[in-house]
């Protein structure tokens, strides 16, 4: 009788899910770039909240993991020339708790509770979410909506990319293979009273959004719109910003809001998949856009009348 073996013999090491890799924790961004330049199969790891599952399923098999999480130059949230600069390795939970972010980039503050769960936000980084470029992720959506600048270092020196140029497709960015994201610069809106709104449709809270809409608006004390930005995530293969300039200079009533958002969402690029058709996504994008903009206007008006 043949006895079936139950797993590995005790003398052997138990199996591990990821394929073997080398692990390096460099001391500077320059060193990170040098390692990436020398080995094209090396990959950067920060919080690892997306990369580690990919490794466990062997969908990613890097030769080397370059751990940037502890690099001091990639940490922190600071105000600089009318912008809030967040270091790439700043954890999402830190940004969520930051008074500077809440005050100066309220839209980012509003979406952070929607990013994963508290335990993944304690590890996951702001830069990691951007570099991962998931079309339905909230942080990339805010970056595109607010025209953030993504800061990257490679072996030739620092580069800055507009968020719109940064995301080119699902999980695809224009970061060069030898580049390492170092931070993101969100412009601070100083005009008028700022309101924000965010809505998303997903199977369960914290799952990937089928469609999401983020709005930041600034109004004067009379409720006239000074500046408005609407971004749609999850619909197409990357987050996109829609044009709502028709609302600037007027005091938008409900009908004008619906009309402007519907016009802007016309021809929105959307994809069909298992969860939702492209038609559904386009329709929901407009509905969520209207809701997010209405919330944002109401918030700005309350601040303006206070």
């Amino acid at each position: 009788m043949v006895r079936q073996r139950r797993g590995p013999a005790t003398s052997k090491a138990p199996p591990m899910k990821p394929a073997p890799f080398r692990y390096i924790r460099p001391q500077s961004v320059a060193e990170v770039c040098a390692i990436l330049a020398a080995d094209e199969d090396a990959r950067v790891i920060a919080g690892g909240q997306t990369l580690v599952p990919m490794l466990a399923m062997r969908l990613a098999r890097p030769s080397t993991l370059v751990d940037i999480l502890r690099l001091p130059e990639l940490h922190g949230i600071r105000r600089e020339n009318g912008a809030i600069v967040i270091g790439a390795a700043t954890r999402q939970a830190e940004a969520e708790r930051s008074a500077a972010v809440a005050n100066d980039v309220p839209l980012l503050s509003a979406v952070l509770p929607w990013v994963g769960h508290p335990p993944t936000r304690n590890r996951g980084t702001v830069g990691g979410s951007l570099a991962n470029a998931d079309p339905s992720a909230e942080i990339p959506l805010v970056a595109v909506t607010l025209d953030a600048e993504i800061l990257v270092a490679d072996d030739t020196g620092p580069i800055s990319l507009s968020a719109d140029d940064f995301f080119i497709g699902p999980m695809l960015t224009t970061v060069p293979a030898t580049g390492c994201l170092t931070g993101v610069r969100f412009p601070v809106w100083s005009e008028g009273h700022v309101g924000v709104g965010f809505h998303e449709i997903c199977a369960r809270r914290s799952d990937f959004a089928f469609v999401s809409a983020a709005v930041q608006v600034a109004c004067d004390a009379d409720g006239r719109c000074l500046k408005v930005a609407l971004g749609i995530g999850g619909a197409g293969d990357r987050p996109v910003k829609l044009d709502l300039s028709a609302l600037v200079g007027i005091r938008p009533e409900a009908a004008a809001v619906t009309e402007a958002v519907n016009a802007a969402a016309q021809g929105l690029e959307a994809t069909s998949d298992l969860h939702a058709s492209a038609d559904y996504r386009r329709r929901v994008a407009a509905v969520l856009g209207v809701r997010a903009l209405s919330d944002a206007l109401a918030q700005a008006h309350i601040k303006g009348s206070a």
Binding site: P14, M16, I45, G48, A56, L69, T120
Partner: protein
């Protein structure tokens, strides 16, 4: 690769492969099997531990990444061997567990919440345990357990204990 981990206040040294998760290291190298291996790709929350006091998934960290950090597992929550923490006790009293597989993760998530917030709302509790999946209880009694524990912890520190308050320090 050599790494040093302070687990439940004790320094542990281990020579681990870089691809070994903190979860496997805790269970296999340190025989701390209270941290449960569920989905092993960051979905279920059964492997939740506290890293420098904050709940994280130990299946999504390699042990080498945790080098030098302070780690608390479910084994480090009780005040003394054979005793239960206030939160663990509350889970027993309100029947906040059935099969018990998710319980260590739930208790650590609740523990971290109650460290920051002494009077959490129901929504705060739901948010804190939203990353932990339970397939038995339907969550109602888990939320109740955390509310109950929060109340007991608040009363434990109250300066005046009236005769009719049946909570108090246990």
């Amino acid at each position: 690769m050599h790494c040093e981990l302070r687990v439940n206040g004790t320094m542990h040294e281990a020579d681990v492969e870089p691809r070994k998760t903190l979860l496997d290291t805790l269970r296999e190298d340190f025989t701390l099997t209270g941290t449960h291996a569920g989905c092993e790709h960051g979905v279920c929350g059964a492997c939740t531990i506290l890293l420098n006091g904050e709940p994280v998934r130990s299946c999504l960290i390699f042990a080498v990444q945790a080098d030098g950090y302070d780690i608390t597992t479910i084994e480090g929550i009780a005040p003394a061997p054979g005793e239960l923490s206030v939160i663990q006790d509350a889970f027993c009293e309100t029947h906040g567990l059935q099969c018990g597989f998710c319980t260590p993760g739930m208790i650590l998530a609740a523990h971290a919440l109650l460290q920051h917030q002494t009077t959490p709302s129901r929504a705060d509790i739901v948010d804190a345990i939203s990353g932990n999946i339970c397939r038995c209880t339907g969550y109602g009694q888990i939320v109740e357990a955390v509310e109950f524990a929060a109340e007991r912890l608040r009363k434990a520190n109250a300066p005046i204990v009236t005769p009719d308050s049946n909570g108090g320090a246990r």
